[in-house]
């Protein structure tokens, strides 16, 4: 059973996303909404990771070796310059999308494994991940015309 690997993947992705949210918050503190929102969402991601942990451990006991290229880096730090905010939010969006699709896969697997507790956890968290994506997109859509067309 390979579920453990996907659980591990999502667990790591959630922690990576939390870290990225906090770094974007810190480096864009001049944008107060980004600063506060990103810290809030980082806490959500950490909470998701915490909720996943018991399942990672339970399914990890008898898991086969981890397959190749399971996890890929999506974030290599914040940027500077006129497009920094947009590009950094763009990264966050893709990282949240990675988590979002992982929640969907794990939800499918939880049904296959008849694991109600895992399914409940998926239902508890996947909506928040979807809203995280939506928030990042909302903020980017607002910023894009000014950043791409107006600012010099």
């Amino acid at each position: 059973m390979h579920l453990a690997h996907y659980l591990g993947l999502l667990h790591r992705s959630q922690l990576d996303l939390a870290k990225a949210f906090r770094q974007v918050a810190t480096d864009h503190r001049e944008e107060p909404d980004v600063f506060h929102e990103c810290h809030l969402l980082a806490s959500q991601c950490e909470d998701h990771a915490e909720r996943l942990k018991p399942f990672v451990e339970r399914y990890g006991e008898d898991a086969p070796d981890e397959p190749d290229r399971l996890h890929g880096e999506l974030f290599s730090g914040t940027r500077r310059g006129p497009l920094a905010l947009l590009r950094d939010l763009h990264d966050l969006y893709l990282m949240a999308a990675e988590c979002d699709v992982s929640w969907t896969m794990i939800g499918q697997a939880a049904q296959g494994a008849r694991d109600q507790a895992l399914l409940d956890t998926v239902h508890r968290c996947e909506g928040e991940t979807a809203i995280q994506q939506q928030w990042v997109l909302t903020r980017m859509k607002q910023a894009a015309p000014q950043a791409l067309v107006v600012a010099s």
Partner: protein
């Protein structure tokens, strides 16, 4: 005669409710009491003529007539026939008009030359603005994005609509907002989230019929004195309503209430979740109403479930038994009136908490019938009209920026392409607009009738932005305000009494305010300034004819009627003539409802149809925008949304270094940054300068006596003022936000080395994720005693700053200069 400084609310006229009001509202009638104040030595017989108007110094919409003698305003009198005030006026109405005649009114335009503002003529000033506008538009396809318009809550409807059309269809910029973002944005946001559209459900006559009143962060006694008089008159009459107040301060409202919850600042959402949980647990729910008219009950119940009374008591620091008592008051009444204002709107989780008040009314079926009224209040007199006409972060006629059909309607009306009208995202909110100016992508900022150099958070930053040489600042105002002192062009404006236009109060009552006298010198009506700019810029429709094709207030009103037709705020059957002589009229006013509409949603059908709604909604915790697709999936079908959110701790918490929580607010005697009220002698004397309110316990711990000078320090800045020991909750300090620098030093835009007096030196640039309203009610500060005082603090003894602890403080009084006539019928 009544000293209306000593008694801002005037004599009581008690009245009963109907025991069982008829569906039409029954016959309970608030008695008429006509208030009048005339200048010294002027009798009613001396007045040449009375000119119809309404109040411009608060949002209640109190109708009045302006007395004119020898071409000058000499007084005011409340209009007995008006549905809003039945003749009453508050102290700001009675005395505030004197500022019109102030000797330091701006009478000529000014431009900056060699670093100094110098007087010039209108042609020179307007051409400077037009030249800069053209240069910026010519910079490329993103020229529109260099323009920001920051307006007010004190202009007239016709002016806002004209400004909105200039910005949205002339320049094509989404960067339009105003001071209303600081006062009323959450009211609009909460109404949109719950009911699909802005628009107050209730009517002021609900006060006449209710059996319970809940005031949520609303110090109505100092913000809308005449509304408070109506409530007090019910409280003094037979069958008085029970009353709940939520406020960290011991205001006049809190002292009158049966239950006062002095919650810790920033915890409203926890309180509301707890109250709703108790309503659900006790079954204090109109199940049939909810089943037929609401969606989201299941999620709401799940979200509020963890908020037990003991947990809420711990978060909010109020007794659990009082939380339970408040829930019982809300749950067992038959006709509930709720009002909400800055204690919720300017606090943490503003929209979420305001939506929970809506939820109380939805759950209890307390909407659309006499006595069951909900008012998401406005702070400023004409704030409602910025929201309706789209001079702020909204589109005209409560249209939805994300609905292409709504944009098409505007494009057709304005004769421009849909692409011209910015609608790729919500219109830019004020805080973002200032951020773009700070970053340098907004390069022309046009500020009309407001004073952001005193009213916005973190003033040191705002002064820095305004003073930057790259930013071309146009200020249109009556006086050389702190903001105007930093402008590149200053345009002298006419004000209330000197120009004609309409405005709308919180219960949708539209009033006409007619020109009574000429403006001083060369000052011009704001409408005329906007019309002049549009003409000089040559803004046109696709067919080449002028975009702004109206030429005076009445033709502007007629143009607005077209924009409003068919929308919830439908003005189409109102005319200037119909507004003359009688009472104001409540919108929607259409051929089908020619006398206006007293209550919205009487049939429980809300404005949530996807093709009609003003928004597809937001996630309350983050402000993430819902897509049209997601919204349609709710299948709202005219039902209201029961929106839910967990409590989150506020962003700034007290620390060892800054152990106190600051909250800011107003006094009954002043409006905004005192540009007018500070120039009315009776009002100025009642509250002449800044003070700091402390609780007895904190004062004792700090060794502070009444009147001692204390300094407040936050992460942004500091302020000094004499201490008033008041009934505020321990751990919280209050500073009124009115006191800038214009009267300390004729040239000062800021403290300039002296101790600061503006509360917003301390506040943080942070805002609610949905309404984008800044948080003025939650900032961590340190309090330090600086020096002994030379007498009591200059704070009034009336309202929130009432002294406690037996210290002898002279009672606030206006003396003979503040004597006003109050005439009661019968």
């Amino acid at each position: 005669m009544v000293d209306r400084i000593a008694d801002p609310w005037g004599p009581r006229t008690p009245y009963p409710s109907d025991a069982a009001p008829a569906a039409s509202g029954g016959d309970a009638r608030w008695p008429v009491r006509v208030d009048e104040f005339l200048a010294d030595g002027v009798g009613a017989d001396d007045v040449d003529r009375w000119v119809q108007s309404a109040s411009i110094l608060h949002s209640n919409g109190d109708a009045m007539d302006v007395a004119v003698k020898d071409g000058r305003i000499v007084g005011v009198r409340g209009r007995a026939v008006d549905r809003v005030n039945h003749g009453r006026l508050g102290p700001k109405d009675l005395f505030g008009w004197q500022a019109n005649g102030s000797p330091d009114r701006l009478t000529r335009p000014m431009v900056r030359r060699g670093g100094e503002l110098v007087e010039t003529d209108w042609d020179t000033a307007m051409e400077a603005v037009v030249r800069r506008s053209r240069e910026l538009l010519d910079t490329g396809p993103g020229g529109w994005g260099h323009f920001g318009f920051y307006t007010s809550g004190q202009l007239f409807l016709e002016e806002y609509y004209t400004l909105g059309v200039i910005g949205k269809a002339g320049i094509g910029t989404p960067h339009m907002d105003g001071n209303t973002r600081l006062c009323t944005a959450t009211a609009a946001a909460a109404l949109k989230e719950s009911f699909g559209s802005d628009g107050q459900p209730g009517s002021y006559t609900d006060i006449d019929h209710c059996d319970a009143l809940a005031l949520w962060g609303h110090n109505v006694a100092e913000t809308q004195t005449v509304l408070w008089a109506r409530m007090l008159d019910r409280r003094c009459g037979p069958r008085p309503p029970r009353m709940l107040a939520v406020d960290p301060r011991a205001t006049a409202v809190a002292r009158e209430a049966d239950i006062h919850l002095a919650v810790r600042n920033g915890t409203n959402q926890a309180l509301m979740n707890g109250l709703i949980r108790l309503l659900l647990h006790h079954g204090w729910v109109d199940e049939a109403y909810v089943a037929a008219h609401a969606i989201g009950l299941e999620e709401l119940a799940e979200v509020v479930e963890p908020y037990s009374a003991p947990r809420v008591a711990a978060i909010c620091d109020v007794p659990a038994a009082e939380v339970e008592a408040a829930a019982e008051l809300l749950g067992t009444c038959e006709r509930l009136v709720s009002t909400v204002l800055q204690g919720f709107y300017q606090s943490h989780q503003a929209t979420a908490a305001a939506c929970q008040v809506n939820n109380v009314h939805i759950l209890r079926g307390m909407l659309g019938r006499p006595g069951a009224g909900l008012y998401q209040m406005n702070g400023q007199p004409t704030a409602q009209n910025t929201r309706e006409t789209g001079a702020d972060g909204d589109l005209p006629g409560f249209r939805n920026w994300d609905n292409p059909e709504h944009i098409r309607q505007l494009a057709e009306l304005w004769g421009v392409d849909s692409m011209k009208i910015p609608h790729w995202a919500p219109p830019t909110h004020a805080m973002q607009l200032w951020r773009y100016a700070e970053q340098g992508s907004i390069r022309l900022l046009w500020i009309s009738a407001t004073n952001p150099a005193v009213s916005l958070p973190d003033l040191a930053r705002i002064r820095r932005i305004l003073a930057a040489p790259e930013l071309f600042v146009v200020v249109q105002d009556l006086f050389l305000t702190e903001t105007a002192r930093l402008a590149d062009v200053v345009l002298p404006a006419a004000t209330w009494g000197e120009k004609t236009g309409t405005f709308t109060n919180v219960d949708r009552t539209v009033h006409l305010s007619e020109k009574a006298v000429d403006p001083p010198g060369e000052a011009r009506a704001d409408l005329d300034i906007f019309l002049d700019y549009a003409r000089r810029m040559g803004f046109s429709r696709n067919d080449g004819s002028p975009l702004v094709h109206w030429h005076d207030p009445e033709s502007a009103f007629e143009a607005w009627k077209q924009a409003s037709k068919g929308r919830l705020c439908d003005y189409s059957a109102i005319t200037y003539d119909r507004l003359r002589g009688g009472s104001g009229i409540q919108w929607p006013c259409t051929d089908e409802a020619p006398d206006g509409t007293e209550r919205l949603y009487v049939d429980g059908r809300f404005t949530t149809d996807p093709d009609r709604c003003e928004t597809y909604g937001h996630d309350l915790a983050t402000g993430a925008v819902h897509t049209e697709q997601a919204y349609r999936a709710f299948e709202p079908d005219g039902r209201a949304f029961l929106k839910a959110a967990r409590y989150q701790p506020p962003p700034e918490q007290p620390t060892d270094d800054r152990p106190f929580l600051l909250t800011t607010g107003r006094t009954v005697y002043h409006f905004h940054t005192r540009t007018k009220t500070g120039r009315a002698p009776q009002l100025d004397r009642a509250a002449p300068s800044v003070w700091v309110e402390l609780s007895s316990a904190d004062a004792e711990a700090l060794g502070v006596e009444e009147g001692d000078v204390v300094r407040l320090d936050s992460a942004r800045g500091s302020l000094e003022g004499p201490a008033r020991i008041s009934g505020i909750r321990p751990g919280v300090v209050f500073v009124p936000f009115h006191y800038g620098y214009w009267d300390a030093d004729a040239d000062a835009a800021g403290p300039d080395g002296r101790p600061a007096t503006a509360a917003n030196e301390l506040t943080e640039t942070v805002w609610d994720p949905v309404s984008k309203q800044p948080l003025f009610k939650v900032a961590a500060v340190q309090v330090t005693r600086v020096a002994a005082g030379d007498g009591p603090a200059p704070a009034p003894t009336v309202g929130g700053p009432a002294p406690v602890g037996g210290r002898v403080v002279p009672t606030t009084a206006g003396g003979p200069a503040a004597d006003a006539r109050s005439t009661t019928e019968g």
